[in-house]
């Protein structure tokens, strides 16, 4: 979720520390796996929010209003299809640029395969909220990935131009 191995290791350690510190607060009201996942997601979200400069309450795990508007309706140029240029590296780079709440829901659902009802419990939000955050996350990713495709097309064009001017 953080897209950086060293940071992921630090956060893994922090999550286990929190587990040891807080295990006595587990009251069996939810499945232990859900409780543990929520704890781990909170550790990651706290880190992401610190990085993005937002000191937001942990309870406010989904995106604030300014992030929750309708997704932009940009079809992209018809010849710019993502399928050929989509790989893990590109997606990871784009995911890194998502706001923390979008990122968490996207990684939990699309990468780790959790269902919306499980994410709602882990994130402490409604199922509808989880669904809408996922949709907005995917639409934002699509925009970011289109930007990658456009940039690559520009680079290819420049390379072709400099190659042809070299031949002259």
């Amino acid at each position: 979720m953080v897209g950086n191995t060293a940071e992921a290791e630090d956060l893994t350690q922090e999550a286990f520390l929190q587990l040891f510190r807080k295990i006595s607060t587990f009251r069996g009201e939810s499945a232990f796996s859900t409780w543990l996942h929520r704890l781990a997601v909170n550790v990651v979200l706290m880190k992401l929010r610190k990085k993005s400069g937002k000191e937001t309450s942990l309870e406010q795990v989904t995106e604030p209003d300014e992030e929750s508007g309708s997704p932009r309706r940009d079809f992209g140029a018809p010849d710019l299809k993502l399928s050929g240029s989509l790989d893990r590296v590109n997606i990871q780079r784009a995911v890194d640029q998502l706001p923390p709440g979008y990122k968490a829901v996207f990684v939990l659902h699309d990468v780790q395969g959790y269902e919306h009802n499980e994410i709602a419990e882990i994130m402490g939000c409604s199922i509808g909220n989880s669904k809408s955050q996922l949709h907005k996350a995917r639409m934002r990713l699509r925009e970011l990935l289109h930007e990658v495709v456009r940039e690559k097309a520009r680079e290819d064009r420049r390379a072709a131009e400099s190659a042809s001017s070299g031949e002259d």
């Binding site: 191995t5 992921a8 290791e9 893994t12 350690q13 286990f16 520390l17 040891f20 510190r21 069996g28 499945a31 232990f32 309706r73 079809f75 992209g76 018809p78 299809k81 993502l82 399928s83 989509l86 790989d87 893990r88 997606i91 990871q92 996207f106 699309d110 990468v111 780790q112 395969g113 669904k131 809408s132 949709h135 995917r138 639409m139 990713l141 699509r142 990935l145």
Partner: protein, 215 residues
């Protein structure tokens, strides 16, 4: 026939991706290459993302060592400097202060002592992996488990189900730790984890017995 425009389709895109697909939306998608492009993109993102989970590497060993050191500093766990007697005293102190009752007699007590002595003594007598047989210990813990669980027969079925689930989790953890010890008999870290796993099971059984006795 396409009775929907692109805006109306995009309004339903979230539901479409969630599998809720009206006939109108399906007709529109067949007729509209632009909206089909958007759906194809989102499906591609979903497919590539799903393949990323398997690429996640397992955390390296150094994390567990750093975690152990931090937990020792915070006093949440105790380090190797404890003698086996101190380790036993600390451990039994914790368990018995929570459950100072005759219910701990019999198989449960035998299991606790056997596990404690065998594993706590590890730092004094280097244990050759091939000589470590955990089967008798597990058998004793299993007997203790049966006793503890039978003390819960009149309890809330939801609580009983939850305790069974927790026992299954601890048993899984023990199995994993035993596998690690078998694979790396000389690894102190692996033996520590196995020790911790047995301790967790013993403590869980203590809690179950305590709940059973409270009723």
């Amino acid at each position: 026939m396409d009775t929907m425009n692109c805006n109306a389709f995009l309004d339903q895109l979230e539901q479409w991706m969630d599998g809720d697909r009206s006939a109108d939306a399906q007709s529109h998608l067949r007729a509209c290459p632009q909206c089909r492009g958007v759906v194809d993109d989102l499906e591609s993102i979903h497919q590539v993302a799903a393949s990323m989970d398997a690429a996640d590497p397992a955390p390296p060993e150094k994390i567990w060592l750093a975690l152990r050191s931090q937990l020792e500093q915070e006093g949440l766990i105790h380090g190797e400097e404890l003698t086996w007697a101190e380790a036993l005293a600390t451990w039994f102190g914790g368990v018995f202060s929570a459950v100072p009752r005759p219910a701990l007699a019999g198989a449960y007590m035998v299991a606790l002592i056997a596990v404690g002595i065998t594993i706590a003594g590890r730092s004094y007598t280097p244990i050759n992996g091939s000589q470590v047989s955990t089967q008798p210990l597990m058998a004793q813990l299993n007997t203790a488990e049966q006793d503890a669980v039978s003390s819960m027969t009149n309890s809330d079925p939801v609580v009983v189900a939850s305790l069974h689930k927790n026992l299954a989790i601890v048993d899984n953890y023990i199995a994993l730790c035993e596998k690690s010890v078998q694979e790396e008999p000389e690894s102190e870290v692996a033996r520590d984890y196995l020790y911790g796993a047995y301790q967790q099971k013993a403590e869980l059984l203590a809690q179950i017995t305590e709940r059973g006795d409270d009723r």
